[in-house]
Symmetry: C2
Amino acid sequence: MKQSSRPTLKAIAKQLGISVTTVSRALNGKAEAYGISKKTEEAVLRAAKEMHFSPDPLARGLRLNRTLSIGLLIPDISNPYFAEIARNVEMAARREGYSVFLCDSQESTQLEVESLALLRDRKVDGLVIAPVGQSAAHLEELQDGSLPLVVIDRYFPNLKLPYVVSDNYRGAMEATSHLIDRGHRTIACVQGLAGTSPNRERVRGYRTALKDHGIEPDDALVAGSSFGQENGYVHTKLLLGKKKGITAILALSNLITLGVLRALAEEGLSVPGDISVICFDDQPYCAYLNAPMTTVDQDNERMGQIAVRLLFEQIQSRGRFSGEGIVLPTRLIERASVRRITP
Amino acid sequence: MKQSSRPTLKAIAKQLGISVTTVSRALNGKAEAYGISKKTEEAVLRAAKEMHFSPDPLARGLRLNRTLSIGLLIPDISNPYFAEIARNVEMAARREGYSVFLCDSQESTQLEVESLALLRDRKVDGLVIAPVGQSAAHLEELQDGSLPLVVIDRYFPNLKLPYVVSDNYRGAMEATSHLIDRGHRTIACVQGLAGTSPNRERVRGYRTALKDHGIEPDDALVAGSSFGQENGYVHTKLLLGKKKGITAILALSNLITLGVLRALAEEGLSVPGDISVICFDDQPYCAYLNAPMTTVDQDNERMGQIAVRLLFEQIQSRGRFSGEGIVLPTRLIERASVRRITP
DNA sequence: AAGGCCATCGCAAACGTTTGCGGTCTTTGC
DNA sequence: GCAAAGACCGCAAACGTTTGCGATGGCCTT
């Protein structure tokens, strides 16, 4: 009885009394190109099937310098927003025959740098990365196209890297306008991680909407420093204490929103009775919250799929990417967390 | 200017005028064992550092038959329950120097089988798998210990495979008892995927609790066939139509719960005013739902960590696992979705 | 002076592929 | 009958490691 080790080219070759070369070529569909008779080709294919042969990815990778794997680098996979993206990336990649290495940078640039090196070491054929987004120094060296990659969710305006992101600017503008249209004038904004493109764009949309409606943005109404829940909680508390007359809050992420809600509950404020809330990231549960939440839905399903498509285009054209990037529209989902008021 | 290709052992060897053998041994800490002088050892280490050498995982894997990678197989990574597990698995694995291949089986046994083959092909050193759980045929052949693995969330009583799961039985029993204690007698149960261990155990806990309190379980009060949201919705509708007098619902997953809530909303029933609800899986948002949800919290953080620990114990001891498996306690988190009634 | 024994290191094979050059036959053309 | 042309296939190197055997010197011992 043979060991349970996988069959190799050699095994097939020996069984058929031919060389590994021929076996390899036949299996790679190069029979015609190398003048291998139909008979042997079929024999090889049959034997391979019978023995359940599949080429060793390591050996093949070593020789070909392609691993048929990609890296997926995410700031926090437990965030349902990213989890959804990850799911679509995995599905799309698998459909192309690629496997994906998952790395969670835990919102730490330090860990992101390490992960990047690690994935590179692993010789992944490409990378889709949702960067922490505060620093881009470690991404600059990736611009040379030596390693195909696409950036998602957060991007860097001054880097020549393909990206796919939401139209955060318009999304925030629409949301803010929605509030203004319903009579709100003093609108607070609980923001996320400063310096990241989504945060920057969203705040910009928020301010533009205000100005467009003749309301002067008040910097004191914008607070926050991370996309996490705790941040939402803390800064809602602070905002409520510092500024009076706030009638609505724009929360810039789903986790922030949960923090906001906690703070409001503690303060005994009801949504939307006492205060209106609108937030980024639609999640399955948003409709069932106390006061079903009006949200800015991002199409993260497509984001994952498109990211992979963009990536494979690079991989197949070996390198250079031309386009600027892709911006996906958002969608305002109106529910019941915004009240119409008369100022 | 050299190509931007990574430095190899040969490069270091050439630079120092020694053999690759010596370089390899020095880098692997076998200098002493093979009698390599302190001087050369240090020279090698220094050169390696300077050139930013790191061994090619492919070549190493080919030679050693170890890839320093594990596979993580999940039915649905976009489910926050599994996402949280994935996060902890990734973190724990990375801490041990392992990378993780992510596979999403999309709750399909078919895809699970394929993924298993794929990961095996990739020569992962181990596997942590949350199986779909309906069929175990493809897992049986893994019992021989040829590939270390640990099963999480769902397990198979008749398979000798290490597992770590929640104490679903007790969890459901406590939840049901909680309802009974508050006066509920007609308690519906919206279940998940039939045939899976969590579902079986939870239903068993539900029934036991009823019997323990002198209530005869009514099979017509148990319905459902998947852990998804749609299932929760549909079967709540059906239950409400079929059975009268239901005062409480036990929902066996977080997604099911969302479906339940949708159905109740459509029927104009309020929680907990008209009907009480209690559910499995605590999620960050549960506290902010309309009627903050009383839940059975599972410690999926530890589940991921322990799974990895168990896995590495197998990997290091090359093979045989002795223990039976690990059962993590659940915790009932009492909020406001259960009303006290007087039957 | 010869043998033995350390201390230090290198050769070459092996892991499983792919691929640039060939090398044999058989057939064909004249 | 003989060369040229296909048709069909194999050798061996290469990818970057690790490792079983030695190999080479120098120094000590007797």
